[in-house]
Symmetry: C2
Subunit: 281 residues, 2 copies
């Protein structure tokens, strides 16, 4: 009985917001027949969703940087005045979204492209043999890196205005010495201030790892549009193939936290010895 009483009054959290954002538990809403308030944006959501939002905000604000550990579940529970189970559920979802990685016995860490398991997270082109490691790391050749003004098309995809400054880079990836991928890359100039072809060329590791460590920009998700098209003159010269050879065209827009587009990449893949592998669930 005493225990039940004690449990009951944990919903006394209305006046708890001291130095923290006001959390509204689902239970606090009972008796609230004010539909206007309920439907007001942003609508009320479960506690763990609110926690998730707060964690997300801390990630965006750079409170915890890629590769670092976030506070323990117990600490976060204390910080947000909720039970461990609630922050656990929030972290679970962020881990499912690849924003965090849990390591038993060690802690929970901000995911990063700089790690083995996420090295080529967005590159789905694999050798037909299936043996990813057999061909070794790709040879990367930066062919261009210049500052230009965004065309209307580029601007739209990157959520910029036409004419805004952007970086335009181009590179060729070769496997076993065979040019296989040609990529045109556009980046908003502001967040990537100080980018040069040298920095791109010298960096060891994936481009997205460079974005993180050098510019603090972490790509979280991406959307690709894939087509088949004939190689034009440029393609054929850079990939050393004949014109009109069918190429796999992959247009990718990559987003940071909060669905802000931060990169447009147009890839042209040679698919005679490789293929784009996709798993459907």
């Amino acid at each position: 009985m005493i225990g039940e009483m004690a449990q009951n009054d944990n919903s006394t959290q209305s006046a708890q917001a001291t130095q923290l954002p006001p959390l509204v538990s689902v239970s606090d809403l009972q008796g609230t027949t004010d539909f206007a308030a309920t439907y007001a944006a942003p609508a009320f959501s479960p506690l763990y969703q609110q926690i998730k939002g707060l964690l997300l905000k801390s990630l965006q604000d750079g409170e915890w940087k890629p590769g670092e550990a976030i506070p323990s579940e117990m600490d976060l529970a204390a910080r947000y005045r909720v039970s461990q189970g609630t922050v656990r559920k929030a972290i679970d979802e962020l881990a499912a979204d690849n924003l965090l990685v849990r390591r038993q016995g060690k802690g929970t860490f901000v995911d990063t492209h700089a790690e083995k398991h996420a090295q080529y997270r967005f590159l789905k082109l694999v050798p037909d043999s299936g043996d990813q490691s057999s061909e070794g790391p790709a040879d990367r050749q930066i062919t261009e890196c210049k500052r230009v003004r965004a065309t209307a098309e580029i601007a739209k995809l990157l959520n910029l205005r036409t004419g805004d400054p952007v970086w335009q880079a181009q590179r060729v990836l070769s496997f076993r010495g065979v040019p296989t991928i040609l990529e045109d890359i556009w980046l908003p100039a502001a967040p990537f201030k100080g980018l040069t072809a040298e920095r791109l060329a010298d960096y060891h590791g994936s481009m997205y790892a460079l974005f993180e460590t050098e510019f603090g920009v972490r790509m979280v998700r991406a959307v690709e549009k894939i087509r088949a098209l004939p190689a034009n003159l440029l393609h054929s010269s850079l990939l050393k193939i004949e014109q009109n050879m069918p190429l796999l065209s992959v247009e990718r827009v990559a987003y940071t936290y909060n669905d802000v587009p931060m990169e447009l990449r147009r890839g042209y893949y040679l698919t005679d010895t490789h293929h784009y592998r996709n798993e459907l669930n």
Copy 2:
């Protein structure tokens, strides 16, 4: 205080397996210094994983059919002699894998391709406009459906032996009257006994829905290999395009429960007004 005492003795669960498969809780392993037993295959796993396995088995065995409701969480908890939270976690994972769908207030149901939200679950080709609904349903034309013997290549992909009987079907999908997709489909003959071009043509709904309702075969996941290649004579005549036009080639192997391959489908997509859309996380 009383409450605490009562909670303490809940770890008394050693002798619980009566008429059901023996579940081994993690806690039951405490004090077990027998590493041989622990490392013996299949390795011990968390209770909820074992529950997940049991649910999976019931799904495979057809105890609950696509679209039907499975027992409530409380019923399952009683059945397996575990707490509701444990079966909940098992169901959560199966729902994440799209094997089950939860509906608050109604129950948990076996997912099916016959529903709106899963109509074109495996078809990632969308109109460039992005407005999926604007073009209406595809016009489906079965051009072939015959029984043949599996080549070595087909057999390997379907886990059959060379020469085993398979159905081979072909169809053309048109959007707004424009032929856009050519598909060659191979199915193992045994599970799809009685398939005819008529049944394929007459069925309203997706092909995978037909597989479920008519043959009890539910496709759970698929893997696609995507390439760009030039249209050959057959492609050009069926899709009414010129030869050597670049086509998106999509080879898909679809699997039922337990990772058993049940369909090989080779699709050739025209990508001048449509594109293959993929989300990366």
